[in-house]
Subunit: 250 residues, 2 copies
């Protein structure tokens, strides 16, 4: 049980625009002891000369990066996912700071694979891309310039992860070995959304708003496989109940 | 007494090689609430297109940067100076981490101008460039890649300064309003070195080694104007004593 938690954390760049940034991200990751890089539909190749130049001695991370066409594919198998943002819109919170959350991430990563998402340079992550995240991390910046360079954003997060891994020292693996996999939790949300639409709790024109809040609640709860099974059992029971009511009213 | 401490901290880039890095440094500074940039003999112009591109909305910092030909000129008037390094050679310590020192720097910067030095991309700061520093800051990195990009190094330090400024909140100005100016302290070291050479305490072939240790000791002491005056008084007295002994032995 001596997993290096830093090696169990994947940095996921969603639609990065510039190869140089992918290279600089690789270097920042290697500086802080991380190695796993996932790219969702990058606009430029991670093997372009500019990426290699910025990566310097972290070309191994660039060359080992996995490329996916959708976020959903990339996240399959992960059991804990966090998104990052510099903006704090009304629908997007609650946010935690890197310093608050990184000790917890290190604790998770001692036993389960963890992914941390970063959005494209120009717009950051959308609410839809943030939806699968159990935690939303807001990177602290001064009001005089909120927009962080992508590689700088990754550096701040990786630096806090490294610092947390150092101070955690030889502490025990976290108590979360059974966190449910991404696709199981997503299946549960789909089930819940269907149910809530059916019973008229969600506005069919705008179901995402309430679902966002529910995702935040369940996200914070760090659901296990068993939790997901129990919740889906409740949802099925509610569906059965609704069906009975429909029949009675027919 | 409402100085913003972040505005009282200057980032000093010693002989930066690449304009793009100067631009990226400006952006990182602005992200974290700093504004004062000093450049010592930059190899490329901070107003080149690449610098401006990397600076994005921090062009005001680039355009306001002060350029000097020597470090000594640039540091005139500062009362507290720290150097940064990723290496930890035998002669270069002791080092502190950004997290340890930044609350103290914020405290200093509430009343006195502070400078933090970063070396060139390829070699970092030399021992000679580190000599005037009261503190040596080692940026934490993982053993798998120690070499930080210059702008990433500046970001880590500025991020810790910003975090320290936030948690310090409205705390009182630091108790160090009378720290001696850089040039006064340097004058004292020159005086001390002369004295120690004269009395045969320093090896004339290699005086810097012992002087390094003495600089570290006095650096940690945060000397005030009065302290420097007292020390120079002692040195003068010792010189007088040595002169008397020379006469006696003549």
């Amino acid at each position: 049980m001596s997993i290096d938690p830093l090696q169990n954390i994947s940095i996921v760049l969603v639609k990065p625009q510039f190869a140089g940034n992918i290279g600089a991200v690789s270097r920042a990751m290697k500086n802080m002891g991380l190695s796993r890089l996932l790219l969702i539909s990058p606009a430029q190749s991670p093997l372009s000369p500019e990426a290699k130049m910025m990566a310097t001695s972290a070309r191994d991370i660039l060359e080992g990066a996995s490329i996916f066409s959708t976020l959903e594919e990339a996240l399959c198998g992960f059991r804990w996912v966090a998104g990052t943002s510099a903006r704090k819109g009304r629908l997007r919170g609650p946010f935690v700071s890197p310093r608050e959350i990184c000790p917890e991430i290190i604790s998770f990563a001692r036993s389960i694979p963890v992914a941390i998402l970063f959005g494209p340079e120009d717009r950051g992550l959308t609410n839809e891309e943030l939806a699968p995240c159990q935690a939303l991390i807001s990177l602290p910046t001064h009001a005089q310039l909120r927009s962080l360079n992508l590689a700088q954003a990754v550096m701040i997060l990786c630096y806090e992860l490294y610092m947390a891994s150092q101070s955690a020292g030889s502490s025990a693996p976290g108590p979360f070995p059974k966190l449910a996999q991404f696709q199981m939790v997503e299946g549960m949300y789909a089930h819940l959304e269907d149910l809530l639409l059916r019973i008229g709790f969600l506005d069919p024109k705008n179901p995402k708003r309430i679902m966002h809040t529910l995702r935040r609640i369940f996200g914070r709860a760090n659901l296990s496989d068993r939790d997901v099974a129990i919740l889906r059992g409740i949802f099925r029971q509610l569906e059965w109940y609704a069906t009975q009511k429909d029949k009675e009213n027919a």
